[in-house]
Symmetry: C2
Subunit: 402 residues, 2 copies
């Protein structure tokens, strides 16, 4: 089997932890597998380099930032290869460029365009463990590019796809995907399997284990991901294509996102184009609008328009609305809300999932301020003070602790 | 004018110092010059990375060491480019690879084979200051290589040669080349000019300002080097081709090398090949033999063979000699010696330079244990306790303080 391992910043956060990773990789190699390892920078390194750059400029050039930031992963990759060699494991370190990772020129947030897997395959064929510096590639001009925060996950999945690896194991400090955050609901259970689509919803809704772009890419390339802990031997959670019998499981997990603020604009003229104009302006300013609710217009021909933005962008959103030149009514802001979401592919073929959620919250007297649904999730905005209670209530109401 | 600046680890040793370098480069640019800057890693960084690697292995693979160590210079180059851009100086950072530096595959001590100067020239033509990560290149396989300690000097000279730069200014924490070490002889004078050959002798004899390989390369490529301080505006010392009127200056400087140990082997059979065999064995072990003295044989057909090695290699040298299977006499070791040297191209056309040295030391009752001369230098091994006295005496005897 050819397996890609990916170790995040915490897993390689000290020299001792790099030794620990070397032990794990050596063991996987001894078991007869071909191994490619993708590593992040040691935790704290990337932030340190960003601080350095910000010391010189609040808007450092992105091309130079990429050259700067790509150095952390190279350090880890070199050190891990050295640690493996010392254990008698034949290993070779590669930069993103050497691993054939070609990206577009969108510095600090580049997209992988293609991977020339020949250099890696050639070393694998020689029996070597290939250790690749994650998070980076080069563009057509030969400039170093980086893939954005969490980009090493993306490197790992793309490499797994290019090499037709049997699995892409993503190691972190948690041992898999849980039905909800165990810090909130101690009865949360680790899932053995979760579908790409469910994982995408869970990740975008606040579960931090896997980066959304990497799950999207895994789905596209049909790469089997496994979320595992680098500090234990526990079985992880497989993220893969959903199967038919999965629909028997109604709901997979409950996600919580505290980073939400609600904006309501009252008495918006119910004329075509007004909402479009508001959201265009918000988009121009780079504000990430999440949920949007527009009620049917009242008898006076106006409507209430509600939406949520990340808490950090609330002031910016306020400024945009205040500068709006059409006649709109009062603006109401609330940054003490959160979003709880129920996720599961089983919803597709079952009715009543949303009703269960609404009833469960009503039983606890939790008022639902906004609702948004998709084929496989129901998201609800509630007051932040109810966050933990809402998660626990929903977790129990779908029997996720059983 | 096109000028290459090179800033060493101390000159870029902190964020404040990188700001200081940015100020200097911006000023040189404002004066209308085209500027290429070559930078070292921030002081301490390279040693930190070596310690990291040694934590995993006492003999880390050199290929991986190069990938590891090359990261430090990339960080400095990126940060300096960012600092320049913030000052409104158009700048671009380049890795060794991007700057077109192709080396052989002798990892950790690679030689520059060629420089494709087009990428740098193209940016210069756009009006940009090019900031190059020193100390590194790539080999024909695309692997990262490094040039050995002090390799950034070598990068700077090679780049100056490839771009036909008007000068290569080497910035450090000292403001030029002195007639001798000012810590020993406060009357030491900074030289305005020193020839390549004198600088080579001075560097190999203990003056630490410029790395020997870079001076050799500068001589070969006829690059004018200027040793300057990054902490003052003092004029530096030009290192260039010697001119005819230089011969009027008898002696340029006095160098001291404390890192010397003397080995004398008595009663070596004065047969052809014995000395050759001894020095071959020493070379096989990688021991750097410096001065060698063999006296004429005595009437019993034996001779005394003397040589010096770096102090750190004395035990190794002893082991080689003791394992020698021919009949040789007693070995006498002395690690409390030093080498004082008188250097000057003027010696070529003047007699009596050596005699002046011998007389000066004799006047102070300093016994000369070994002597070695070349066209432009006289080196003498004396007891280390006389080191400072010998330097001051010789400095005065050639009127270098005038």
């Amino acid at each position: 089997m050819l397996i890609v391992h990916k170790y995040g910043g915490t897993s390689v956060g000290s020299l001792e932890r790099i030794e620990n990773v070397a032990t794990r990789v050596a063991k996987a190699r001894e078991e007869g597998n071909d191994i490619v390892v993708v590593v992040s920078a040691m935790s704290g390194e990337t932030n340190k380099l960003i601080e350095y750059a910000n010391n010189f400029s609040s808007t450092p050039a992105k091309r130079e930032m990429d050259m700067l930031l790509s150095s952390g992963e190279r350090v880890t990759a070199s050190l891990l290869a050295i640690a493996l060699q010392e254990r008698g494991v034949d290993a070779i370190a590669m930069t993103g460029r050497q691993a054939g990772i070609l990206t577009d020129s969108n510095h600090t947030y580049a997209r992988i365009e293609s991977i020339d897997s020949k250099p890696m395959q050639s070393e694998i064929d020689k029996g070597k463990v290939v250790v690749v510096a994650g998070f980076q590639g080069i563009n057509r001009d030969g400039a170093v590019t980086t893939l954005g925060r969490g980009g090493s996950d993306l490197s790992a999945v793309a490499i797994a796809g290019a090499l037709h690896a049997d699995a892409c194991e993503i190691y972190s400090d948690v041992d898999g995907i849980y039905t909800t955050d165990p810090r909130i609901e101690p009865k949360a259970k680790k899932m053995d399997f979760v579908s790409y689509d469910e994982m995408l919803e869970l990740a975008s809704l606040g579960a931090k284990v896997l980066q959304n772009r990497s799950v999207e890419l895994a789905k596209k390339l049909n790469v089997k991901m496994i979320a595992k802990s680098s500090f234990s031997d526990a079985e992880g959670t497989v993220i893969g294509e959903e199967t038919e019998d999965m629909e028997a499981v109604l709901v997979s997990g409950i996600a919580l996102d505290r980073n939400q603020a609600r904006v309501t604009i009252r008495e918006v003229s119910d004329k075509p184009g007004i909402a479009a104009e508001i959201f265009s302006k918000l988009a121009e300013e780079g504000i990430n609008v999440d949920m949007i609710i527009q009620n049917a217009s009242t008898t006076d021909g106006t409507t209430n328009l509600g939406f949520t933005v990340p808490t950090s962008e609330i002031e910016q959103a306020k400024a945009v609305i205040e500068a709006f030149d059409h006649d709109i009514g009062q603006m109401d802001l609330d940054d003490s809300v959160c979003k709880v979401s129920v996720v599961g592919v089983g919803m597709k073929s079952h009715t009543g999932v949303a009703a269960t959620a609404f009833c469960a919250l009503a039983d606890e007297n939790i008022n639902i301020e906004m609702i948004s649904t998709s084929e496989i999730k129901v998201s609800m905005i509630v007051s932040e003070k109810y966050a933990e209670l809402a998660v626990r209530t929903l977790h129990a109401s779908y029997n996720l602790d059983k």
